[in-house]
Structures are given as C-alpha cells and as structure tokens.
C-alpha cells in the first residue's frame, strides 16, 4: 500500500474508492436483504458500523497480545459480542425496527466485511487508523445501503424514509421491495458505478477528492 495512512484518507476511501458494497462486493446478504426501505438500510448500516468500529477498536488495541493461532477465533468472539449487544439494544429501544431487520441483525456476525476489516486492517494498524478505517467502511456500507434502500423504497412504495412522495394514486412497483428487485437494483447500481468509474478513468478526473484510482 503505497499511500500514506492518514485518518481522513482512511475515512474517505471507504466511501468511494474502496466502497465495501459497490467496489469490494462484500456484505451482500444484508445489503440486499434489508434494503427494501431507506430506513431499514440506514439502521442496518449504523448497526454494522457500530460493530465494525467497536471491533476494530478492540482488535487493534489488543493485537499485540493475541497469538496468531487463535486470532480469528478471538475476532469472531469479539464481533459476536458486539453484535449481541447491538441486537439487544435494538430490541430494547427500537422494537419495530428490530422486527423488520429480524435475523439479519444477528447475521452481522458473519458479514464478511467485518471480519475482513479485522484481518486486513485492524490487526495490523494502531487504534486511530484502525478506527478511522472501520468508520469509513461503515460509512461506505451505510451509504450504499441507504442508496439501495432509497431507490427501492421510492419505486416500491412511492415514499422516502416513510414520506409519501407521489400522492395516493401512485402505483408502487412492488417488485422493487421483493427479492428480485433487490438483485436487479443492485445490478443497476453496480452498472452505474462502473459507468462513472469508467468515465472518470477516461477523464482522469477525481471524485470526492479521493486519491487517484489505480
């Protein structure tokens, strides 16, 4: 990795250049499963961000003391703990949301994004960059989920974050909030990302003030 590691850069790369969903195609299951509305996407994104940030924090601070044979097991234990905490918290304070997200909160445990970050980054860096990286990834993940959730909610229910957009006579595209809609919309967004990245590569320009794409 030739780039200098600065917290702000770590934060930003997760949004676009290494966006976990659109670029790395990680954590697809929750990204599709819960994004039938923007609010669900946001909640899932935030819960995931919480888990990844806390886990990174812990993992990077204890990284010196964890022998490598049990590294993964320890990480999983740490992640599972935070997921359980998040799950209880959601159940206690936002029961309705928890009903919507269902088992997918628990399934954050196995989100490849989180374990991936611990393996690839937190276990090799000190606390500040690790947390910045995790926050960036979490933000990128949240951004992607909210984008997907927004498109699906707007078309599928005619509303955005529950606000009706087109009036009562709008004909919702039910497919968008059904499983096929998730796959198809994800395909469309990936296509758009590819188009933008392609155009950007050709123009040699930059977006988000990020570093130049390879």
């Amino acid at each position: 990795m030739p780039d200098p590691i600065t917290p702000s850069a770590e934060l930003l790369k997760g949004l676009w250049r290494e966006n976990p969903v659109f670029v790395q195609v990680l954590g697809m299951c929750p990204a599709l499963a819960v994004t039938n509305s923007a609010v669900n996407g946001l909640a899932m994104g935030l819960a995931t961000t919480f888990v990844v940030v806390m886990s990174s924090l812990l993992v990077s601070s204890v990284r010196r003391w964890v022998p490598k044979q049990v590294r993964i097991s320890t990480y999983i234990l740490i992640i599972a703990t935070f997921v359980t905490v998040a799950d209880f918290a959601l159940q206690a304070w936002t029961p309705a949301l928890h009903r919507e997200l269902g088992a997918f909160v628990a399934l954050i445990v196995v989100n490849c994004l989180i374990l991936g970050r611990q393996e690839a980054f937190a276990s090799r860096h000190s606390v500040v960059p690790a947390v910045a990286d995790a926050a960036g990834m979490g933000a990128g993940f949240t951004l992607a989920l909210v984008m997907l959730g927004s498109v699906r909610e707007v078309l599928g229910m005619g509303s955005w974050f529950g606000l009706s957009l087109f009036g009562p006579r709008f004909e919702p595209w039910v497919v968008m909030i059904l499983p096929p809609g998730g796959f198809l919309m994800m395909g469309v967004l990936l296509l758009l990302f590819a188009c933008v990245a392609d155009a950007r590569r050709r123009a040699g320009g930059r977006l988000y003030g990020g570093r130049e794409a390879a």
Binding site: V25, L32, A33, A80, T84, V110, P179, M186, G187
Partner: protein, 194 residues
C-alpha cells in the same frame, strides 16, 4: 406429518430459496458460481455443513441453551465452526475421496450467513430434530440448485457478447434477479394454500 415435512422441504428448496428469496450465502453464490463443477461441489458441501449445523443447533438448543438463550449467537458460531472442523477431520480419514471433492469449500462456508441463518431460523420456527434436518436438506438443496443454475448460465454468458461494463458482477446480479423472478412462480407450492 409428512405433508408438513414436504412443505418445509419445498419451502426451503424453492419458495423461500435461501439464495434467491432470503439473500443468504450470496458471497459464495457470486464468488464460486463461475464454473459448473465447482458450483455443484460447493452446493454439496453446503448440504453437508447444513445437516451438521442443524444437528448441532438442535442439540445446543435442547440440552445447553435452555437456561441461557442470550448466549445463543455466540455458542452457535463457535460450536458450528468447531463441529464442522471436527467432522472435516473425520471425513478426511473415513472418506478421503469425498473430502477431496468438498474439502476446499468447507472453510469458505462454515461461518457464512446461510449456515448461521439456518440455525437461527430452525430455532425461531421451533423445528424439532427431524423437521430441522429436512429443513437443512431443503435449504442446502436450494443453494445447490441456485448455484448450479447460476453457474450454467454464467458459463453460457462467456460465449456471448455481453457489454463490457456489464461483465462480471453486474451481470451476475441480473442473472440472479431474473432467476429470482422465475422462482416466484413456486410461491405457495405444496404449502396447502393452493
């Protein structure tokens, strides 16, 4: 009774196919579906791990977690991972050929979301031992079906003039989307609602 088991099986296999309706196990679904034979083997490995998982989750739920349900998630993860590893070692000894065919996929899926979800769903639906195993068989079979169809279709696209921007991931999502549309036809099959 057998009607109920059929409904559980068909439900997990087709109607609420783990991959195409529940979005579970997508990472291997997209990652390992480029070649038919590997996809098929991954599917079989899934069936295998799911059967073990179902058994393990049922055992945990019945004998261990009765008094500490809040530890469910963490125990599931740990126990499933270690049981699969243990069975993997047994397999290596007892059936080396099978192990060679499935072995490389096991680490890939032991802690993926489809497996964990199987355990969680089985518990939250209150399935008993037999129901759980049938559920695991259906879910694993469903994953295999989706994987094999997907792999066949993806191999076919390699001979096509797919637009360059679509090659790769976006294309796979479109295939999955249409597959998912097609699987909607199974809604209500054998569930007694027809």
């Amino acid at each position: 009774m057998s009607g109920e088991l059929l409904a559980i099986f068909v439900g997990a296999l087709l109607i609420n196919n783990f991959t195409l309706a529940y979005f579970l196990g997508l990472c291997p679904f997209f990652g390992v579906s480029a070649r038919l034979t590997t996809a098929f083997r991954l599917g079989l490995a899934n069936v295998f791990v799911m059967l073990i998982t179902s058994l393990a989750a049922w055992g945990l739920e019945t004998f261990v977690l009765v008094h500490a349900p809040y530890l469910r998630l963490i125990t599931y993860i740990v126990v499933i991972a270690s049981t699969v590893q243990f069975v993997e070692m047994l397999l290596k000894k007892a059936a080396p050929a099978l192990f060679r065919a499935l072995g490389i996929f096991l680490p890939l899926i032991t802690t993926n979301c489809a497996i964990l979800a199987l355990a969680l769903f089985q518990t939250s639906r209150g399935y008993g031992l037999l129901q759980g195993l049938v559920f695991a068989l259906g879910a694993g079979g469903g994953l295999t079906l989706a994987l094999v169809l997907m792999a066949g279709l993806r191999e076919e696209t390699e001979l096509s003039e797919v637009p360059s921007l679509l090659r790769g991931t976006a294309m796979s999502f479109f295939i999955a989307g249409v597959l998912s549309l097609a699987f909607m036809g199974f809604a209500g099959l054998f569930s007694g609602s027809g």
